[in-house]
């Protein structure tokens, strides 16, 4: 699946998107997998309360299932307007 990062999440991880092979069942499982990979992921995901996630471009919760999802995006709370 495609995993996208925005704003300071993108900067901490060091790339805007990547293709990830995973069997993770939920967003939280995916986050745990990524954090286990490298320190920069652990740094980006250190405070899940400071993060938001979208599944196929719709806001979702961290316990949402990933089955069928093609695009996961992680980012800080929005500051538009």
């Amino acid at each position: 699946m495609d995993v996208l990062y925005f704003a300071w999440v993108r900067e901490r991880i060091g790339l805007p998107r990547e293709r990830v092979q995973t069997e993770a069942e939920t967003v939280a499982d995916l986050v745990a997998e990524l954090c286990a990979r490298e320190e920069r992921y652990a740094a980006a995901f250190a405070d899940p309360a400071a993060l938001r996630v979208a599944l196929d471009q719709e806001l979702a919760d961290f316990d949402a299932p990933l089955k069928g999802v093609r695009e996961v995006a992680f980012f800080p709370p929005m500051t538009g307007g």
């Binding site: 925005f6 979208a54 719709e58 995006a73 980012f75 800080p76 929005m78 500051t79 538009g80």
Partner: protein
């Protein structure tokens, strides 16, 4: 209903004039324009707005649909810029048209609250002390409870 997400500057006056001119039957038009403010101590050299192409248009469209379902709107417009902006430049604008003023006011206020916290934009300020991501405010999240 019209949504535009663009890097190019827009002219608030021209957009407002065209929006008012294309109404028929509306008695009330409300516009909101968000403008790049300088840092509290001054010295903002620019603001950078990042967004999530694809999701942005979809999220704004859903917010506009919600507003149209809740109030008697005859028209609505949302323009939001991304990329680099200078101090005092318009960041975004919203316009609503309705037969009566209460609907136009409430819909514009609602659109702003939701665009602020639910449309995927992130602001970064580049000033004398370097670059800093603008933090979301609790007050903005709490504002959603009004609706």
């Amino acid at each position: 209903m019209q949504v535009r997400v663009q890097a190019e500057p827009f002219d608030t006056g021209a957009e407002t004039g065209a929006f008012v001119a294309r109404q028929s039957g509306a008695g009330a038009v409300v516009t909101f324009t968000g403008i790049v403010r300088d840092l509290p101590g001054g010295g903002l050299s620019r603001m950078e707005i990042e967004h999530y192409p694809g999701m942005t248009e979809r999220a704004i469209g859903e917010i506009v649909d919600q507003a149209a379902a809740r109030w008697a709107l005859s028209d609505a417009l949302v323009i939001h810029r991304f990329g680099p902006l200078r101090p005092a430049e318009p960041i975004m604008m919203v316009a609503t048209a309705a037969p009566h003023r209460a609907d136009a006011f409430m819909a514009a206020d609602f659109l702003m609250d939701y665009l602020k916290s639910r449309a995927p934009f992130w602001k970064k300020e580049i000033g004398p002390d370097g670059a800093e991501w603008v933090a979301a405010k609790d007050s903005d999240e709490n504002a959603l409870n009004r609706w």
